[in-house]
Symmetry: C2
Subunit: 207 residues, 2 copies
Protein backbone atom coordinates (compact mmCIF):
# COMPACT_ATOMS: atom_id res chain seq x y z
CA UNK A 1 0.00 0.00 0.00
CA UNK A 2 1.42 3.37 -0.98
CA UNK A 3 2.22 5.50 2.03
CA UNK A 4 2.27 9.23 2.17
CA UNK A 5 5.97 9.51 2.78
CA UNK A 6 8.84 7.18 1.90
CA UNK A 7 11.80 7.23 4.31
CA UNK A 8 14.97 8.55 2.77
CA UNK A 9 16.82 5.58 4.17
CA UNK A 10 14.54 3.29 2.22
CA UNK A 11 15.40 5.06 -1.02
CA UNK A 12 19.07 4.67 -0.20
CA UNK A 13 18.66 0.93 0.20
CA UNK A 14 16.68 0.29 -2.96
CA UNK A 15 19.75 0.41 -5.23
CA UNK A 16 21.41 -2.11 -2.93
CA UNK A 17 18.45 -4.44 -3.23
CA UNK A 18 18.41 -3.93 -6.97
CA UNK A 19 22.07 -4.79 -7.38
CA UNK A 20 21.66 -7.80 -5.10
CA UNK A 21 18.73 -9.09 -7.09
CA UNK A 22 20.60 -8.59 -10.37
CA UNK A 23 23.64 -10.48 -9.11
CA UNK A 24 21.55 -13.30 -7.65
CA UNK A 25 19.59 -13.62 -10.89
CA UNK A 26 22.88 -13.91 -12.77
CA UNK A 27 23.70 -16.65 -10.34
CA UNK A 28 20.59 -18.51 -11.44
CA UNK A 29 18.21 -17.56 -8.65
CA UNK A 30 14.88 -17.08 -10.41
CA UNK A 31 13.13 -16.62 -7.09
CA UNK A 32 14.17 -14.96 -3.83
CA UNK A 33 12.97 -14.72 -0.27
CA UNK A 34 13.54 -11.61 1.81
CA UNK A 35 15.85 -13.75 3.95
CA UNK A 36 18.02 -14.80 1.02
CA UNK A 37 18.37 -11.26 -0.26
CA UNK A 38 19.05 -10.02 3.26
CA UNK A 39 21.80 -12.56 3.74
CA UNK A 40 23.38 -11.67 0.43
CA UNK A 41 23.55 -7.92 0.97
CA UNK A 42 23.82 -7.84 4.75
CA UNK A 43 20.49 -6.48 5.91
CA UNK A 44 17.51 -7.76 7.86
CA UNK A 45 14.59 -9.55 6.17
CA UNK A 46 12.08 -7.38 8.01
CA UNK A 47 13.78 -4.27 6.76
CA UNK A 48 13.57 -5.43 3.17
CA UNK A 49 9.91 -6.36 3.43
CA UNK A 50 9.06 -3.09 5.13
CA UNK A 51 10.94 -1.11 2.49
CA UNK A 52 9.12 -2.88 -0.32
CA UNK A 53 5.79 -2.44 1.43
CA UNK A 54 5.98 1.32 0.98
CA UNK A 55 5.57 0.78 -2.73
CA UNK A 56 3.14 -2.12 -2.79
CA UNK A 57 3.18 -5.88 -2.58
CA UNK A 58 5.83 -7.42 -4.80
CA UNK A 59 5.97 -10.96 -3.57
CA UNK A 60 3.93 -14.09 -3.08
CA UNK A 61 3.19 -15.19 0.48
CA UNK A 62 4.69 -18.51 1.31
CA UNK A 63 6.93 -18.31 -1.74
CA UNK A 64 8.96 -15.13 -2.01
CA UNK A 65 9.79 -12.79 -4.87
CA UNK A 66 10.13 -13.56 -8.55
CA UNK A 67 13.61 -12.20 -9.21
CA UNK A 68 13.12 -10.69 -12.68
CA UNK A 69 9.84 -9.15 -11.61
CA UNK A 70 11.44 -7.71 -8.48
CA UNK A 71 14.21 -6.18 -10.55
CA UNK A 72 11.64 -4.56 -12.80
CA UNK A 73 9.65 -3.21 -9.86
CA UNK A 74 12.63 -1.64 -8.10
CA UNK A 75 13.95 -0.27 -11.38
CA UNK A 76 10.63 1.37 -12.01
CA UNK A 77 10.48 2.94 -8.54
CA UNK A 78 13.97 4.35 -8.96
CA UNK A 79 13.12 5.42 -12.53
CA UNK A 80 15.96 3.25 -13.74
CA UNK A 81 13.72 1.47 -16.23
CA UNK A 82 14.86 3.92 -18.88
CA UNK A 83 18.45 4.76 -19.68
CA UNK A 84 19.79 8.04 -18.35
CA UNK A 85 22.27 10.26 -20.10
CA UNK A 86 24.82 12.03 -17.96
CA UNK A 87 27.33 14.78 -18.48
CA UNK A 88 30.67 14.88 -16.71
CA UNK A 89 32.26 18.21 -15.89
CA UNK A 90 35.87 18.37 -14.75
CA UNK A 91 38.20 15.89 -16.40
CA UNK A 92 40.97 15.81 -13.82
CA UNK A 93 42.21 12.61 -12.26
CA UNK A 94 38.91 11.85 -10.61
CA UNK A 95 36.93 12.87 -13.68
CA UNK A 96 39.01 10.57 -15.86
CA UNK A 97 38.47 7.72 -13.45
CA UNK A 98 34.71 8.29 -13.55
CA UNK A 99 34.80 8.49 -17.33
CA UNK A 100 36.16 4.98 -17.65
CA UNK A 101 34.25 3.57 -14.68
CA UNK A 102 31.91 0.79 -15.75
CA UNK A 103 29.82 0.50 -12.59
CA UNK A 104 27.17 2.96 -13.73
CA UNK A 105 26.00 0.91 -16.64
CA UNK A 106 24.18 -1.74 -14.62
CA UNK A 107 21.82 1.01 -13.49
CA UNK A 108 21.39 2.29 -17.03
CA UNK A 109 23.56 5.38 -16.94
CA UNK A 110 25.80 6.44 -19.77
CA UNK A 111 28.11 9.40 -19.95
CA UNK A 112 27.28 11.22 -23.16
CA UNK A 113 29.34 14.37 -22.87
CA UNK A 114 32.37 15.68 -21.02
CA UNK A 115 33.56 19.23 -20.39
CA UNK A 116 36.63 20.92 -19.01
CA UNK A 117 38.07 24.42 -19.07
CA UNK A 118 41.67 23.33 -19.67
CA UNK A 119 42.71 23.97 -23.27
CA UNK A 120 45.16 21.08 -23.07
CA UNK A 121 42.32 18.64 -22.43
CA UNK A 122 39.73 20.00 -24.83
CA UNK A 123 39.52 17.91 -27.96
CA UNK A 124 40.99 14.83 -26.35
CA UNK A 125 38.96 11.66 -26.52
CA UNK A 126 38.38 9.34 -23.57
CA UNK A 127 36.29 6.22 -23.95
CA UNK A 128 34.83 7.52 -27.18
CA UNK A 129 33.76 10.86 -25.70
CA UNK A 130 35.46 14.05 -26.86
CA UNK A 131 36.17 16.55 -24.11
CA UNK A 132 34.55 19.86 -24.96
CA UNK A 133 35.11 23.41 -23.83
CA UNK A 134 32.97 24.20 -20.81
CA UNK A 135 31.95 27.41 -22.55
CA UNK A 136 29.85 25.20 -24.82
CA UNK A 137 27.95 23.57 -21.97
CA UNK A 138 24.64 24.70 -23.43
CA UNK A 139 24.78 21.87 -25.96
CA UNK A 140 23.67 19.46 -23.26
CA UNK A 141 20.14 20.81 -23.46
CA UNK A 142 19.72 19.71 -27.07
CA UNK A 143 21.05 16.30 -26.06
CA UNK A 144 18.38 16.10 -23.35
CA UNK A 145 20.89 15.34 -20.64
CA UNK A 146 19.42 15.83 -17.16
CA UNK A 147 22.08 14.34 -14.91
CA UNK A 148 25.50 15.82 -14.25
CA UNK A 149 28.56 14.52 -12.49
CA UNK A 150 30.59 17.34 -11.04
CA UNK A 151 34.29 16.72 -10.51
CA UNK A 152 35.72 20.21 -10.55
CA UNK A 153 37.56 22.05 -7.77
CA UNK A 154 35.58 23.48 -4.83
CA UNK A 155 36.21 26.98 -6.09
CA UNK A 156 34.51 26.29 -9.40
CA UNK A 157 31.76 23.97 -8.19
CA UNK A 158 29.06 26.51 -7.35
CA UNK A 159 29.48 28.42 -10.59
CA UNK A 160 29.47 25.28 -12.72
CA UNK A 161 26.47 23.91 -10.83
CA UNK A 162 24.46 27.03 -11.61
CA UNK A 163 25.45 26.79 -15.23
CA UNK A 164 24.37 23.16 -15.32
CA UNK A 165 21.00 24.00 -13.80
CA UNK A 166 20.54 26.79 -16.32
CA UNK A 167 21.07 24.25 -19.06
CA UNK A 168 18.44 21.80 -17.97
CA UNK A 169 20.22 19.59 -15.46
CA UNK A 170 17.87 18.19 -12.79
CA UNK A 171 20.24 16.07 -10.72
CA UNK A 172 23.88 16.44 -9.75
CA UNK A 173 26.32 13.92 -8.35
CA UNK A 174 28.79 16.22 -6.67
CA UNK A 175 32.35 15.21 -5.83
CA UNK A 176 33.61 18.57 -4.64
CA UNK A 177 33.94 19.08 -0.91
CA UNK A 178 31.48 21.93 -0.64
CA UNK A 179 27.81 22.66 -0.33
CA UNK A 180 26.01 23.56 -3.54
CA UNK A 181 23.20 26.07 -3.46
CA UNK A 182 20.67 25.09 -6.10
CA UNK A 183 16.92 25.55 -6.60
CA UNK A 184 15.09 23.07 -4.43
CA UNK A 185 13.63 21.14 -7.35
CA UNK A 186 17.19 20.16 -8.25
CA UNK A 187 18.58 17.13 -6.43
CA UNK A 188 22.20 17.12 -5.35
CA UNK A 189 23.88 14.02 -3.98
CA UNK A 190 27.38 14.65 -2.70
CA UNK A 191 30.22 12.24 -2.33
CA UNK A 192 32.96 13.65 -0.15
CA UNK A 193 35.82 11.22 0.09
CA UNK A 194 37.85 13.11 2.66
CA UNK A 195 34.79 13.52 4.87
CA UNK A 196 34.22 9.78 5.00
CA UNK A 197 37.89 9.11 5.56
CA UNK A 198 37.92 11.61 8.42
CA UNK A 199 35.67 9.52 10.61
CA UNK A 200 37.62 6.29 10.28
CA UNK A 201 40.04 6.98 13.15
CA UNK A 202 37.12 7.69 15.50
CA UNK A 203 36.04 4.09 15.22
CA UNK A 204 39.47 2.57 15.42
CA UNK A 205 40.65 1.16 18.74
CA UNK A 206 43.56 2.63 20.73
CA UNK A 207 45.97 4.75 18.69
Amino acid sequence: MRHYRIPDETVKRLPVYLRGAVLLLKDGKKSLSSGELAGFIGASPAQIRKDFSYFGAFGTRGVGYDTPKLIKQISKILKLNKRHKAVLVGIGNLGTAIMVYTGFSIYGFSIEAAFDNDAKKIGKKINGITIEDIAKLRTIRAKKIQIAILAVTSGQAQRVAESLVNNGIKGILNFSPCRLEVPKNIKVISIDIALDMARLPYYMPKT
Copy 2:
Protein backbone atom coordinates in the same frame (compact mmCIF):
# COMPACT_ATOMS: atom_id res chain seq x y z
CA MET B 1 28.60 15.82 29.47
CA ARG B 2 29.61 12.49 28.01
CA HIS B 3 26.64 10.34 27.17
CA TYR B 4 26.53 6.62 26.94
CA ARG B 5 25.97 6.48 23.25
CA ILE B 6 26.91 8.93 20.51
CA PRO B 7 24.63 8.92 17.47
CA ASP B 8 26.30 7.76 14.31
CA GLU B 9 24.83 10.74 12.52
CA THR B 10 26.65 13.01 14.93
CA VAL B 11 29.98 11.39 14.11
CA LYS B 12 29.25 11.88 10.42
CA ARG B 13 28.70 15.57 10.94
CA LEU B 14 31.79 16.25 13.05
CA PRO B 15 34.16 16.30 10.05
CA VAL B 16 31.81 18.79 8.39
CA TYR B 17 31.96 21.05 11.44
CA LEU B 18 35.70 20.66 11.57
CA ARG B 19 36.19 21.64 7.96
CA GLY B 20 33.79 24.55 8.39
CA ALA B 21 35.67 25.82 11.43
CA VAL B 22 39.01 25.50 9.64
CA LEU B 23 37.76 27.43 6.63
CA LEU B 24 36.16 30.12 8.76
CA LEU B 25 39.32 30.50 10.82
CA LYS B 26 41.30 30.96 7.60
CA ASP B 27 38.78 33.65 6.80
CA GLY B 28 39.72 35.42 10.00
CA LYS B 29 36.89 34.29 12.25
CA LYS B 30 38.56 33.78 15.62
CA SER B 31 35.21 33.14 17.27
CA LEU B 32 32.06 31.40 16.06
CA SER B 33 28.47 31.02 17.14
CA SER B 34 26.52 27.87 16.41
CA GLY B 35 24.36 29.99 14.11
CA GLU B 36 27.32 31.21 12.08
CA LEU B 37 28.74 27.75 11.66
CA ALA B 38 25.29 26.42 10.83
CA GLY B 39 24.80 29.03 8.13
CA PHE B 40 28.19 28.29 6.63
CA ILE B 41 27.79 24.56 6.33
CA GLY B 42 24.01 24.34 5.95
CA ALA B 43 22.81 22.83 9.20
CA SER B 44 20.72 23.95 12.15
CA PRO B 45 22.27 25.69 15.17
CA ALA B 46 20.44 23.39 17.58
CA GLN B 47 21.84 20.36 15.82
CA ILE B 48 25.38 21.65 16.14
CA ARG B 49 25.01 22.45 19.83
CA LYS B 50 23.40 19.11 20.54
CA ASP B 51 26.14 17.27 18.67
CA PHE B 52 28.84 19.07 20.64
CA SER B 53 27.00 18.45 23.90
CA TYR B 54 27.59 14.71 23.59
CA PHE B 55 31.27 15.37 24.12
CA GLY B 56 31.18 18.16 26.64
CA ALA B 57 30.81 21.91 26.74
CA PHE B 58 33.04 23.63 24.18
CA GLY B 59 31.71 27.14 24.11
CA THR B 60 31.03 30.17 26.25
CA ARG B 61 27.43 31.13 26.94
CA GLY B 62 26.50 34.45 25.49
CA VAL B 63 29.62 34.44 23.33
CA GLY B 64 30.10 31.34 21.21
CA TYR B 65 33.05 29.13 20.40
CA ASP B 66 36.71 30.04 20.21
CA THR B 67 37.52 28.81 16.71
CA PRO B 68 41.03 27.40 17.25
CA LYS B 69 39.90 25.72 20.46
CA LEU B 70 36.88 24.24 18.72
CA ILE B 71 39.07 22.88 15.95
CA LYS B 72 41.30 21.25 18.54
CA GLN B 73 38.37 19.73 20.40
CA ILE B 74 36.73 18.21 17.32
CA SER B 75 40.09 16.97 16.04
CA LYS B 76 40.68 15.25 19.34
CA ILE B 77 37.27 13.57 19.33
CA LEU B 78 37.83 12.30 15.82
CA LYS B 79 41.39 11.32 16.74
CA LEU B 80 42.62 13.60 14.00
CA ASN B 81 45.00 15.39 16.36
CA LYS B 82 47.75 13.05 15.23
CA ARG B 83 48.69 12.34 11.64
CA HIS B 84 47.49 9.06 10.16
CA LYS B 85 49.36 6.97 7.67
CA ALA B 86 47.34 5.21 5.01
CA VAL B 87 48.02 2.56 2.41
CA LEU B 88 46.34 2.51 -0.96
CA VAL B 89 45.65 -0.80 -2.66
CA GLY B 90 44.62 -0.89 -6.31
CA ILE B 91 46.24 1.70 -8.52
CA GLY B 92 43.77 1.78 -11.37
CA ASN B 93 42.14 4.97 -12.56
CA LEU B 94 40.38 5.60 -9.28
CA GLY B 95 43.43 4.61 -7.24
CA THR B 96 45.60 7.01 -9.19
CA ALA B 97 43.10 9.79 -8.64
CA ILE B 98 43.10 9.12 -4.92
CA MET B 99 46.87 9.01 -4.88
CA VAL B 100 47.15 12.56 -6.13
CA TYR B 101 44.09 13.84 -4.27
CA THR B 102 45.02 16.58 -1.83
CA GLY B 103 41.79 16.73 0.18
CA PHE B 104 42.94 14.21 2.79
CA SER B 105 45.76 16.32 4.12
CA ILE B 106 43.60 18.85 5.96
CA TYR B 107 42.49 16.01 8.20
CA GLY B 108 46.06 14.82 8.69
CA PHE B 109 46.11 11.78 6.44
CA SER B 110 49.02 10.88 4.24
CA ILE B 111 49.35 7.98 1.84
CA GLU B 112 52.59 6.23 2.72
CA ALA B 113 52.44 3.12 0.56
CA ALA B 114 50.72 1.85 -2.56
CA PHE B 115 50.20 -1.66 -3.88
CA ASP B 116 48.95 -3.30 -7.03
CA ASN B 117 49.16 -6.75 -8.58
CA ASP B 118 49.80 -5.54 -12.12
CA ALA B 119 53.44 -6.06 -13.10
CA LYS B 120 53.21 -3.10 -15.47
CA LYS B 121 52.44 -0.77 -12.57
CA ILE B 122 54.82 -2.15 -9.96
CA GLY B 123 57.89 0.02 -9.59
CA LYS B 124 56.21 3.11 -11.03
CA LYS B 125 56.24 6.20 -8.88
CA ILE B 126 53.22 8.43 -8.32
CA ASN B 127 53.46 11.50 -6.13
CA GLY B 128 56.69 10.24 -4.62
CA ILE B 129 55.29 6.83 -3.70
CA THR B 130 56.57 3.73 -5.45
CA ILE B 131 53.91 1.17 -6.30
CA GLU B 132 54.82 -2.15 -4.76
CA ASP B 133 53.80 -5.73 -5.46
CA ILE B 134 50.75 -6.66 -3.42
CA ALA B 135 52.56 -9.84 -2.46
CA LYS B 136 54.70 -7.63 -0.23
CA LEU B 137 51.76 -6.14 1.63
CA ARG B 138 53.18 -7.32 4.94
CA THR B 139 55.62 -4.42 4.97
CA ILE B 140 52.82 -2.11 6.07
CA ARG B 141 52.97 -3.58 9.57
CA ALA B 142 56.52 -2.37 10.12
CA LYS B 143 55.47 1.04 8.86
CA LYS B 144 52.68 1.08 11.47
CA ILE B 145 50.00 1.85 8.91
CA GLN B 146 46.51 1.25 10.27
CA ILE B 147 44.29 2.74 7.59
CA ALA B 148 43.76 1.34 4.12
CA ILE B 149 42.06 2.69 1.05
CA LEU B 150 40.74 -0.11 -1.10
CA ALA B 151 40.29 0.61 -4.79
CA VAL B 152 40.48 -2.86 -6.33
CA THR B 153 37.80 -4.71 -8.30
CA SER B 154 34.86 -6.28 -6.47
CA GLY B 155 36.22 -9.72 -7.14
CA GLN B 156 39.45 -8.99 -5.33
CA ALA B 157 38.12 -6.79 -2.56
CA GLN B 158 37.27 -9.43 0.04
CA ARG B 159 40.57 -11.24 -0.34
CA VAL B 160 42.61 -8.05 -0.17
CA ALA B 161 40.60 -6.82 2.82
CA GLU B 162 41.43 -9.98 4.74
CA SER B 163 45.06 -9.61 3.87
CA LEU B 164 45.03 -6.01 5.06
CA VAL B 165 43.43 -6.99 8.35
CA ASN B 166 46.02 -9.73 8.80
CA ASN B 167 48.69 -7.10 8.42
CA GLY B 168 47.48 -4.74 11.10
CA ILE B 169 44.94 -2.54 9.31
CA LYS B 170 42.16 -1.30 11.63
CA GLY B 171 40.10 0.83 9.27
CA ILE B 172 39.24 0.54 5.57
CA LEU B 173 37.84 3.09 3.18
CA ASN B 174 36.29 0.83 0.59
CA PHE B 175 35.53 1.91 -2.95
CA SER B 176 34.47 -1.44 -4.34
CA PRO B 177 30.77 -2.03 -4.79
CA CYS B 178 30.53 -4.97 -2.44
CA ARG B 179 30.13 -5.85 1.20
CA LEU B 180 33.31 -6.69 3.07
CA GLU B 181 33.23 -9.29 5.80
CA VAL B 182 35.76 -8.30 8.44
CA PRO B 183 36.17 -8.86 12.19
CA LYS B 184 33.91 -6.50 14.03
CA ASN B 185 36.72 -4.51 15.62
CA ILE B 186 37.67 -3.40 12.11
CA LYS B 187 35.80 -0.39 10.77
CA VAL B 188 34.82 -0.31 7.12
CA ILE B 189 33.40 2.80 5.50
CA SER B 190 32.24 2.24 1.95
CA ILE B 191 31.88 4.73 -0.84
CA ASP B 192 29.83 3.34 -3.66
CA ILE B 193 29.59 5.83 -6.45
CA ALA B 194 27.14 3.93 -8.61
CA LEU B 195 24.84 3.38 -5.64
CA ASP B 196 24.59 7.10 -4.96
CA MET B 197 24.12 7.84 -8.62
CA ALA B 198 21.34 5.26 -8.80
CA ARG B 199 19.00 7.20 -6.57
CA LEU B 200 19.34 10.48 -8.39
CA PRO B 201 16.55 9.79 -10.93
CA TYR B 202 14.14 8.94 -8.11
CA TYR B 203 14.26 12.52 -6.91
CA MET B 204 14.12 14.13 -10.31
CA PRO B 205 10.77 15.46 -11.51
CA LYS B 206 8.97 13.97 -14.52
CA THR B 207 11.16 12.07 -16.96
